[in-house]
C-alpha cells in the first residue's frame, strides 16, 4: 500500500499506521542496532564458547564503553579520562554484589547502573564546571586514585582482585554459559548503539554538536551548556560502568589492571585509531584491540609500541582515524570519477 507525498504531490511514502513504530525507533539507528545484534549473535554462536568467543565477549564489553566515548568525545568533544574509573566502578560493583552479598546478575546490573548515575552526577556536577583542559587534567588523576585504592584495599581483593563474578546468563556447561553471556552482551551493545545513534540524530545531538563546535555560539543559540555537559558526562560514565560489569561477567574476575592509567589509554586508542565519530568503528576497534592483546605473545608484548605508533600516525594523517582516511580516499576516487566523466562528455561534445 502506498500514498502520495503531501508536500510535493509526487512519489510514494509508507503509510504512517503500519511503519509508525519503526519511524519512532528511527529507522537508521534501529537498522544499525539490529545489524550489530545479528552479526554479533551469529559470530558468538559460531564460536561456540571457545577462547576466541571469550575474547569477543570481553571485546563487546569494551565496545559498550567505546560507543559511549563516541558520544562523549567524538560528537560532544568532551575529553575526560574517567572511563576506566567508571569501568572499574561497574566491574567491582557487580563483583562485590554477586560474591560478597549474593545478589543475582540482574540486581547487580541494575544496581551498577543506578550507582554509576549517582557517582557520575556527583563527580560530573563538579568536573563539568571546569574548562576543557582543566576537566581533562583533573580526570587524569582519577585512574591513579582508583588504582591505588583497589590495590591496597583488602575489601576489594588487593592485587588479586575479586574472582567468582557470575556470567550474565549461565548455562549447563562453561561453553554454553559463555555463548549465552556473549549473546546478552551483544543485545546490550545493540541497545546502546541504538540509544547513542538516536540521541545523536535528535535535537539534543544537534545541541551537542553545536556545543562541540563553539561553546559561546551554542550558548548564544540557547543551549544550556552546563546541563548538556553534565548529561553527556553521566551518559558516557554509565555506559562505561555497564561495559565494566559485562567485562567482569565475561571473565569471571576483576583485577586492578582494569582501572589503571594504561587501561584508560587503551580505551582512548580503541576509539581514536578506528575513528572517534563512528559507532561501528568504535565497536570494531574495541574487539580487534582486545583480540590483539591476547592473540600472540609477540603482539601482546609489543602492543603498547603498536598502539602508540598508530595513535601518532592517526593524529598526524587523519584525526578522524581509519574511517576518516577511508572517507577521504573514497571522496578522492569519486571526485576523480566525476572529473573523468565530465572530461569524457566534453570530448564527446
Amino acid at each position: 500500500m502506498t500514498a502520495v507525498r503531501p508536500e510535493t504531490g509526487t512519489g510514494t511514502v509508507r503509510p504512517q499506521a503500519a511503519w509508525g513504530w519503526w519511524q519512532r525507533l528511527d529507522a537508521t539507528s534501529a537498522s544499525m542496532a539490529l545489524g550489530v545484534a545479528v552479526v554479533g549473535i551469529v559470530a558468538l554462536v559460531a564460536l561456540n564458547g571457545n577462547y576466541t568467543g571469550l575474547v569477543v565477549t570481553t571485546g563487546v564489553g569494551y565496545a559498550v564503553v567505546t560507543v559511549g566515548m563516541v558520544a562523549q568525545i567524538g560528537y560532544s568533544h568532551q575529553l575526560a579520562f574517567s572511563q576506566s574509573v567508571f569501568m572499574g566502578l561497574g566491574a567491582y560493583g557487580a563483583a562485590l554484589l554477586e560474591t560478597r552479598y549474593n545478589q543475582g546478575v540482574l540486581v547487580s546490573m541494575l544496581a551498577v547502573i543506578v550507582g554509576a548515575v549517582v557517582v557520575a552526577y556527583l563527580i560530573g556536577a563538579v568536573v563539568t564546571r571546569a574548562p576543557g583542559l582543566a576537566l581533562a587534567l583533573a580526570t587524569l588523576l582519577l585512574p591513579l586514585f582508583l588504582y591505588e585504592l583497589v590495590t591496597y584495599s583488602s575489601y576489594l581483593g588487593t592485587f588479586a582482585g575479586i574472582s567468582g563474578v557470575l556470567p550474565l546468563w549461565s548455562g549447563e556447561t562453561y561453553a554454553e554459559g559463555m555463548v549465552r553471556t556473549g549473546v546478552v552482551a551483544v543485545i546490550i551493545l545493540a541497545v546502546v548503539v541504538w540509544l547513542v545513534m538516536r540521541i545523536m540524530r535528535s535535537g539534543v545531538g544537534l545541541q551537542l554538536m553545536a556545543l562541540a563546535a563553539d561553546e559561546r555560539l551554542a550558548e548564544g543559540m540557547g543551549v544550556n551548556l552546563r546541563k548538556r555537559r553534565l548529561g553527556v558526562f553521566i551518559f558516557g560514565s554509565v555506559l562505561a560502568a555497564l561495559g565494566g560489569a559485562i567485562v567482569a561477567s565475561a571473565q569471571g574476575i576483576v583485577t586492578p589492571d582494569l582501572v589503571n592509567e594504561s587501561a584508560e589509554v587503551t580505551l582512548l586508542i580503541m576509539v581514536f585509531v578506528p575513528g572517534r565519530r563512528n559507532v561501528i568503528a568504535a565497536i570494531v576497534g574495541a574487539i580487534v584491540i582486545e583480540w590483539l592483546s591476547t592473540s600472540t605473545e609477540f603482539i601482546s608484548t609489543n602492543l603498547p609500541t603498536f598502539e602508540g605508533a598508530l595513535l601518532i600516525l592517526v593524529l598526524l594523517i587523519e584525526p578522524d582515524g581509519i574511517v576518516g582516511l577511508c572517507q577521504r580516499g573514497w571522496e578522492a576516487v569519486r571526485r576523480k570519477r566525476v572529473e573523468r566523466a565530465v572530461a569524457a562528455k566534453e570530448e564527446t561534445a
Binding site: L79, V126, P131, A138, L141, L144, P304, T305, I312, L315
Partner: protein, 300 residues
C-alpha cells in the same frame, strides 16, 4: 620532631622527582603549548640504560651516562623532526586538546613498549654517584642519592627560572608560547626553539633518572605515573613558571610523605590524588585556565 624531620627529608626527595619533571613539563609547555607525558619515560631510559651499560657492558659510569644522554637526545630530535614538525609547523588547525595531550602520550607508549622488549620487566638502578650508607645528622637520616636529587632539582629550577627571566632566548621561548605565529613574524624560529627545548628537557629528565634511580629503582613502565604527577605539579605553576613548578613538586612530595607518616602508609597516595583532584576542580584558575586563557575552551 625527629619523625617529622625524617618524613620531611623523604618527602623532599620524592618531591624532587616530581619537581624536576614539573620543571621540564613547564618549560616545554611554555614554548609549544603541549604537555609532555613522555618525560618520565626519558628518565626511565636514562636510569635503565646506564645501569645496563655499566653492569652488562662494563663501561665506565661517565661513558655510559654520556652514551645514554646522546641516545635520549637523538630520540627527542627524531620525534620532533618526524612528528611534531609535521603536526605543529605545517598544520593549519588551531590548538586542540587532542594535540595538547596525545602526541606525547603516543611517544610514551612507544618508549614503554620498546623498553619492555629490550629491558624486560626487571627493576634497575644506575650505580650511585655518591655512594656509601646514609649520613646521620643528629637523629636525621640523609640518603646521599636523595641529597643529590634535591640539589639537582633546585639547581635546575633556578637555572630555568634565570633562563626565562634574564636571557633573550628565554624571552623568545615565552613569545612562542604566547603566539607561535607572532613569534615567527618577529623572526623567532619557533620550530627550532621547540626542538631545542624538547631535547634539553629529555636530556635533563634522563640525567635525573640516572641520579635518582638508586633511591627508587626504575622498571620499563615507571615513566607514565611520575610524568602524570609532574604534569599536575606543573599545573600548579600555571605551566609557565618552572621555578614555581619545582616548588609545587617539592610540596606534593612533602605532603605525600607526611600523609604516609601521620595518616596512612597505604592510602597516602589515594588521599593525595583526591586532594589534588579537588583543588583542580574547585580552583581551575590555579592552572592558569581562566576564561581569558587561550586554552580554556579548547576542545578535542
Amino acid at each position: 620532631m625527629t619523625k617529622f624531620l625524617n618524613l620531611l627529608a623523604a618527602g623532599l626527595t620524592s618531591g624532587a622527582i616530581y619537581a624536576i619533571f614539573a620543571a621540564c613539563v613547564t618549560l616545554w609547555y611554555r614554548v609549544s603549548n603541549l604537555l609532555n607525558f613522555a618525560v618520565g619515560d626519558f628518565a626511565m631510559i636514562g636510569a635503565i640504560g646506564t645501569a645496563l651499560l655499566v653492569q652488562d657492558q662494563h663501561l665506565p659510569f661517565a661513558v655510559a651516562v654520556i652514551i645514554v644522554l646522546v641516545a635520549v637526545a637523538l630520540i627527542g630530535w627524531l620525534f620532533d623532526v618526524g612528528v611534531l614538525h609535521y603536526a605543529l609547523d605545517r598544520s593549519t588547525r588551531g590548538a586542540r586538546v587532542v594535540a595538547v595531550f596525545f602526541y606525547t602520550f603516543g611517544l610514551s607508549l612507544v618508549l614503554e613498549g620498546i623498553a619492555r622488549a629490550i629491558f624486560g620487566t626487571d627493576v634497575y638502578a644506575a650505580p650511585p654517584i655518591w655512594g656509601g650508607p646514609a649520613s646521620q645528622v643528629l637523629d636525621f637520616h640523609i640518603q646521599h642519592a636523595g641529597v643529590l636529587t634535591i640539589a639537582l632539582a633546585v639547581i635546575v629550577g633556578l637555572a630555568l627560572w634565570a633562563y626565562l627571566r634574564f636571557t633573550v632566548s628565554g624571552k623568545a621561548v615565552a613569545a612562542c608560547g604566547e603566539s607561535s605565529l607572532g613569534a615567527r613574524i618577529v623572526g623567532i624560529s619557533s620550530g627550532v626553539l621547540r626542538r631545542r627545548i624538547f631535547i634539553l628537557t629529555a636530556v635533563l629528565a634522563a640525567l635525573f633518572g640516572v641520579v635518582e634511580s638508586p633511591v627508587t629503582g626504575f622498571v620499563y613502565n615507571s615513566g607514565p605515573s611520575i610524568s602524570l604527577i609532574g604534569v599536575v605539579a606543573a599545573g600548579f605553576a600555571a605551566y609557565n613558571k618552572p621555578g614555581r613548578a619545582v616548588l609545587a613538586g617539592l610540596g606534593i612530595g612533602v605532603i605525600e610523605a607526611l600523609l604516609g607518616g601521620y595518616v596512612s602508609t597505604q592510602y597516602n597516595d589515594v588521599i593525595l590524588y583526591a586532594a589534588l583532584f579537588v583543588i583542580i576542580i574547585m580552583r581551575p584558575e590555579i592552572l592558569g585556565l581562566g576564561a581569558e586563557s587561550d586554552l580554556a575552551g579548547v576542545t578535542v
